[in-house]
Symmetry: C2
């Protein structure tokens, strides 16, 4: 089989990358078999002669595609069955879902779990991870994660749109009756956190938990192919 | 012409309803001519022999359709050209955009503008409006709107997803290169507020302002067919 998704790895074969999760779900959505090949943070620049700083990178029958959006577009072009985006508007609306995640959810979650990511990184990746993330944060990992328990309520509140969709609107998935790329974007950010943190990110009776478990089960349980901690208290 | 959209009216022919705005944009999106017929809060139950509590209500060639989602679905069925939803997933993603608005933006905006709505309601509607909204809020309109200037920063922050989409993602509309129903949902909530409040809801250099003005200009300027105050400081 010549289809490889290079997938960020931490200790215990944990696979936290939210961007890699999207691509794994996208491949599974299309029923395409693939190897999720483990790569640590600092090993990424050695792939394909260098030039790549992040994963996912997809190698498909000799072609190499980097970036989760480029991979999704490539998959829809090369394998039109089970489209990820049936129209340009559908793709744009998924982008907007990503904009919601990256402006409302991820900024809360990142300082809460950044030290957990460090502690779960492969030993040879920890110094790089600490230095690059402390530069981005403008403070130490320890400072960023101090008092993080007090952010749990805000994090749970930030998922209000998903909760309202599930309860008031009665929609099973962000994409409707059937799951789609917007669901994969959002589940990716939660799998990212649950891969490394023991914080109870959600309350046990939150309807978001049911959605999370339902999405993990999809496509043969693609969302259960690497270890996580319990997401709910 | 036998196409009438019953549209909530306040003084000075102001038309605040965010749900009516969606339907007006939807009709204009399809190039369908219509009369936006003014109706005050307390006159709605007298339409079509009673049974309706809210607008929009569309009368189209003898058929009567209430509720903005039902109207959108009806329009796509009756007039397939220029679809509002090209796929079930597109509709579902628009619902999720609505879930974002109603969990993240509207709860901030409602207490900020509720007294302004009261003050702009037709004289015969004010007692009804006050009583029903004070019951919903569990406090007086004056209590709800006290200190509302301190909420402006939070309101502006709540529009983060739209701002990130416009800047980092470089997308012109929530629906992509071309505007769609998700844009109409979001512009509706801002037109609702701008119809009645003189609060500077947005900063003058906020990229959201450009998007707002661009959407208002669409389809022959459908978003400028009734008076508003300036949305930006």
């Amino acid at each position: 089989m010549a289809r490889i998704l290079h997938d960020l790895v931490c200790i215990d074969d944990r696979r936290p990358s939210p961007f890699c999760w999207r691509s794994k779900f996208a491949l599974a959505h299309k029923g395409l078999a693939f190897e999720a090949r483990a790569v640590g943070f600092t090993a990424i620049p050695r792939l394909y002669g260098g030039g790549h700083k992040t994963v996912p990178i997809l190698e498909d029958d000799g072609r190499v595609i980097a970036d989760s959006w480029a991979i999704a577009d490539y998959l829809d072009q090369a394998y039109p069955d089970h489209p990820l985006f049936a129209s340009p508007a559908e793709r744009a609306l998924c982008r907007f879902t990503e904009a919601w995640v990256f402006s409302s959810v991820a900024p809360l979650l990142f300082p809460m779990v950044v030290r957990d990511i460090h502690d779960h990184a492969l030993e040879q990746d920890r110094a790089y991870f600490r230095e690059s993330r402390e530069q981005r944060l403008g403070r130490t990992l320890e400072q960023a994660s101090a008092g993080r328990e007090q952010q749990i309520d805000a994090l749970r509140a930030s998922l209000g749109p998903l909760r309202l969709m599930l309860t008031v609107q009665g929609q099973s998935f962000i994409s409707g009756d059937r799951p789609g790329y917007a669901d994969y974007i959002v589940v990716g950010i939660l799998l990212w956190a649950a891969s490394v943190t023991t914080l109870p990110l959600l309350a046990h009776d939150d309807p978001v938990v049911e959605w999370f478990e339902r999405v993990r089960d999809l496509h043969g349980g693609i969302g259960r192919t690497s270890p996580t901690y319990a997401i709910a208290s």
